[in-house]
Amino acid sequence: MIGWIDTIIQGLLLGGLYALFAAGLSLTFGIMRLINIGHGDLIVLAGYLGIVATDALGLNPFWSLVFVVPAMAVLGYGLQRVVLNRTLGTDILPPLLVTFGLSIILQNLLMQLFSADSRGLNAGPFETASIALPGGLAVGVFPVLIFVTAIAVIGGLQLVFSRTSLGRAFRAASDDRVTAELMGIDNRHIYGLAMAIALAIVGIAGVYLAIRTSIDPTVGPSRLLYAFEAVIIGGLGSLWGTLAGGMILGLAQSIGFRLDPGWGILTGHMAFLAVLVFRPNGLFPKTRDR
């Protein structure tokens, strides 16, 4: 019994990491209907930036966030303005093709720079520290931190969306980009800011990933897949839905892993397929088809 409760808690906490993977994808899809196939590789890039920064600074890896997050935001804005804005239009194929190309370029670039060896970040005893709960349960401090970060990120995004002028502009551009232009909203700039925020979150996700496990240049696509599954399970365009989607995916993987260590990834995909079959629009859909 205790073992199962432990499995459930671990699974839900793992969902926090998946929500961090997915939040940026959810954001850019919600605002500009852009599905970024390079999203997972950008997470890995952020992980390597964290490794480089940590090597250079010689400090605890968490300090690398101070460098990685702004660097990824700037990269996001530039990428959107210089490349991705040109691919957006009525046809959904160009952005898919271009970001698929981006994914391949990033993987090769990382391979050239860092070789195929896996590397990770060492956050010291913090990584394995745990908090004892009643009943002989224990939760890791780092998984809890990841989960709290995910809630803070998604809650923060939700506040930006509902309370700020930028958030109104995001929603207006998402509803109707032509009419948004009539309001004086420069969509190219707004989309740039959306990608900057998305990649800032990717920055956090990448550093956390490199602390939690080790990374190599080929692990991006599977992170994209988890992120994608979390977004679809939660419902396109819904940020809290994305958090819920991440938690459901984490839970399914964790339960599968407990049943048989070989099954974890598979049960995650099966949960995703089950949602697709029974709730094709996800659990908390927000997007209207227009």
């Binding site: 009419t179 009539l182 309001m183 004086g184 909203i185």
Partner: protein, 232 residues
């Protein structure tokens, strides 16, 4: 100098030419109506003035500046606002947010949220509703208020009476004097010729992408208008 003037303005959708050499002008403080049957090019003309459709820079001169083909998001900041055909409110935004976002360009001027609520008091009561939950007439009020929030020197209204009951149309047109009193010039596109003649200082009639007739309502005869409108 006119507030806005077009000279030989053309507009295309791909290879399809929708406008053929439109000469048009609005003076400061004037209300001008554009009439014409469906497909005549009225909406295309307003969209071109607002920057949504490309055209040669010099073919639109607004406040002495050539603005043809400039990005729509910049043109609104220069004081030209469009109330688009079909209202196009933002469904994810409340009534109040729809109005506030109209002021995104931060152009200074007399119009504020409070002033809009004075102009259309019913909107104050519905301020927190989603814009698209309102009746057609109220949605049209939001669309007009949203455009006014950019403090325009020239307000372009595309078929604001379309699909509305006569009493509602009267309510909406009752706001016009208050808008003009702020020194705003107005262009209304109307299929309802009677309504257009009533409010306009001058009228242009469009037919198949060209100006088929223009003049002061009092100077134009019925037969003349009918010929320009229907092309018979």
């Amino acid at each position: 100098m006119s507030l806005i003037e077009t000279r030989g303005l053309t507009a295309f959708y791909g290879d399809f030419q929708a406008l053929f050499g439109i000469d048009f002008a609005v003076e400061d403080g004037e209300t001008v109506a554009i009439i014409g049957s469906n497909g005549a090019g009225k909406s295309t003309f307003l969209k071109t003035l607002s920057g949504l459709i490309a055209t040669r820079a010099e073919s639109v001169v607004f406040g002495g500046e050539a603005i043809g083909g400039m990005a729509a998001s910049r043109i609104v900041g220069k004081g030209l606002a469009l109330v688009p055909e079909g209202r196009r409110l933002f469904p994810s935004l409340s009534v109040e947010e729809n109005l506030v976002i109209g002021g995104y360009s931060k152009r200074p001027g007399p119009w504020t949220l409070e002033r809009i609520f004075k102009l259309f008091p019913i909107l104050a009561e519905r301020r927190s509703s989603p814009g698209t939950a309102l009746s057609g007439g109220q949605q049209q009020m939001v669309a007009i208020g949203r455009a006014l929030m950019s403090n325009p020197r020239l307000l372009l209204c595309d078929e604001i009476s379309l699909g509305l009951a006569p009493v509602v149309i009267a309510d909406i047109y009752a706001a016009l004097p208050g808008i003009k009193a702020e020194g705003t010039s107005v262009v209304v596109v109307e299929q309802d010729i009677g309504q257009a003649m009533k409010v306009a200082d001058r009228v242009y009639c469009f037919q198949e992408g060209r100006v088929s007739l223009s003049g002061r309502p009092g100077d134009l005869g019925r037969a003349e208008i009918s010929a320009a409108y229907f092309g018979v």
